[in-house]
Symmetry: none
Subunit: 191 residues, 4 copies
Amino acid sequence: MVGDGVPGRLLSAATKLFAQKGFDRTSVQEIVAAAGVTKGAMYHYFGSKDDLLSEIYGRVLRLQTEQLEKVAATEAPVPERLRRAALDVVVSTIENLDDTKIFLQSVHQLSPDRSRAVRAERRRYHERFRSLIEEGQRAGVFRADKPADIVVDFFFGSVHHLGAWYRTSGKLSAHQVGEHYAGLLLGALRP
Amino acid sequence: MVGDGVPGRLLSAATKLFAQKGFDRTSVQEIVAAAGVTKGAMYHYFGSKDDLLSEIYGRVLRLQTEQLEKVAATEAPVPERLRRAALDVVVSTIENLDDTKIFLQSVHQLSPDRSRAVRAERRRYHERFRSLIEEGQRAGVFRADKPADIVVDFFFGSVHHLGAWYRTSGKLSAHQVGEHYAGLLLGALRP
Amino acid sequence: MVGDGVPGRLLSAATKLFAQKGFDRTSVQEIVAAAGVTKGAMYHYFGSKDDLLSEIYGRVLRLQTEQLEKVAATEAPVPERLRRAALDVVVSTIENLDDTKIFLQSVHQLSPDRSRAVRAERRRYHERFRSLIEEGQRAGVFRADKPADIVVDFFFGSVHHLGAWYRTSGKLSAHQVGEHYAGLLLGALRP
Amino acid sequence: MVGDGVPGRLLSAATKLFAQKGFDRTSVQEIVAAAGVTKGAMYHYFGSKDDLLSEIYGRVLRLQTEQLEKVAATEAPVPERLRRAALDVVVSTIENLDDTKIFLQSVHQLSPDRSRAVRAERRRYHERFRSLIEEGQRAGVFRADKPADIVVDFFFGSVHHLGAWYRTSGKLSAHQVGEHYAGLLLGALRP
DNA sequence: AATGAATGAGTCTTCATTCAT
DNA sequence: AATGAATGAAGACTCATTCAT
């Protein structure tokens, strides 16, 4: 998924370790050992430990943004598009659970610059999602007594929390959880 | 809120700092400086930095568990009791936003023993909440096509996420957010 | 053996702990806990941790010096007096194995003043022993081609080493070991 | 003697300091200062302060074991081989007096694992020495009324004690002391 | 006689990063 | 492209001792 060159192996190793033990608890030494390279090699490709984290963020954000754009641009009726978007974000979150965990635990640990950049991208994503809800509210198919951004935060809280409880070994597939979550969101928005 | 003896001052300082910068990024030196005591004094009262964290957790957990018990034991109809419980947990989470933030960022950084204890308490809390939902499903006032524990995780995700976006300086009061969140939850559960 | 007042209990606890883990590895906290008193109480009776160590030394030294004087003053022939002295010192060393261990491991850790005093006492003891050997050499009953002080160091090395291997649970009694050691010493001195 | 690279300098400095002041009383800071390197450099080569100690032990043990094997494998009559072994161990102990001092004071301060390993090696050494004595007892050239292992402990006590009194500046050379000690041991074993 | 809170200097160790090769 | 030795600042924690009560 990340490629098997040295940078790819480093990214994979870092992702797994950051998700398991957190950014601060993971030493550069551990990362390079897991990737089977030396410290020098890592600093050849990445400027710093922070760099590794930024790179991981970037990848997930780009991925999710692309998916959302694709769904939102569809011709389907709003509720259907929202349902699809909600389902997709749950499924892709579960498929990249490590990245999501890192995301939540470690944004604060990025340098101010990088943190800002990541947040901006995140905000754009949320805004795209919110515009979908507002469209439905204006069309009268969604209840309008709840501010759209509250609904967005409500829903993305649930999504971010997936990493805290979802286990691949559990009895629900990613898709099933996605259907439930989308169903709850749509249910909550019924007029 | 925590008392003004040395232990109380340490707990307050630690809470604020852990919430701001995360557990790992906060040094014992910073904590004692903020509390105006010496390192030795801290280690006189708390066995370790972990101890401080556990103590903070314990307080919040006890507080929220008590509140939930009180509401759940009421005579009101289930939807009303669930609405109250949801409202309460949002309000109390916002009122103790620092503790909540710490909770989410740092449970993983406790020693295995302590982490287990905290999780167990947390689970009991969720189970109490879930039993309220199941009661409503059996009574036919809540839709039964969504597993109750999925609903619990869905809702608590939203609650935990509050720390990520809610600002005291924003335009919504804790109570208003609580009403919205409770409304969305109840809406999602309508048959 | 040391009395059961607070000072006695402290001395006993300290002796056991120092022998087990060494002076530096034993904290004042552990000593007072083992003695069932508080730190303040300890500092009421002893000026410092070093003080405790000096006190322990003093006791053993006095004990062994007294025994030696008693044996040496006897009317028996020299070889018999030396045999008795050697036997006695082995038996009493084994009976106070903890003190002996402490002695060897920790003399260097006393303050210069105290270390000097302890060494001086030790030297007097060795000199008394040496004079017994010299007496036998002059009388022609001990070989004279080995300097007496070399013999003393040779023998006391063996004695000090007892703490490193002797176990109460082993198959030899203190007295049996004493007989063997005295026998080896006398054997080595045969003309 | 240890080489003059960074690890060698560290080992030399540590040996001298441990012998002078004891393991616990010597700080890592002092060692690196004496070796003229930084703390980080030390931890690059040695995993811990204990590691340094283990390394020092290892060297002496290997040295002495080799010497003993060489002498024991000789064709000479047993008493002569024992005399040579005794002489050698005294001379080599005096030549590495620092290491020996450390040995005695600090084995107890190693981690259980390492302590076990060092003791095991030590035991093998003693057993080789003991087999020499037993050989002589079976051949009837040594008295058989003293258990061989008691004799070994008796003699090695004397040897270990050398560090407590031998001074290079004294009037006896290492070789002279060795002759005396070997003479006393052989004398003690005469039938 | 005894307490126990508080001190503050000191301990070992970790770690991201640099740099000559 | 890659190594690995070396740095130096910072980390959590320990402990003998003091002192007001």
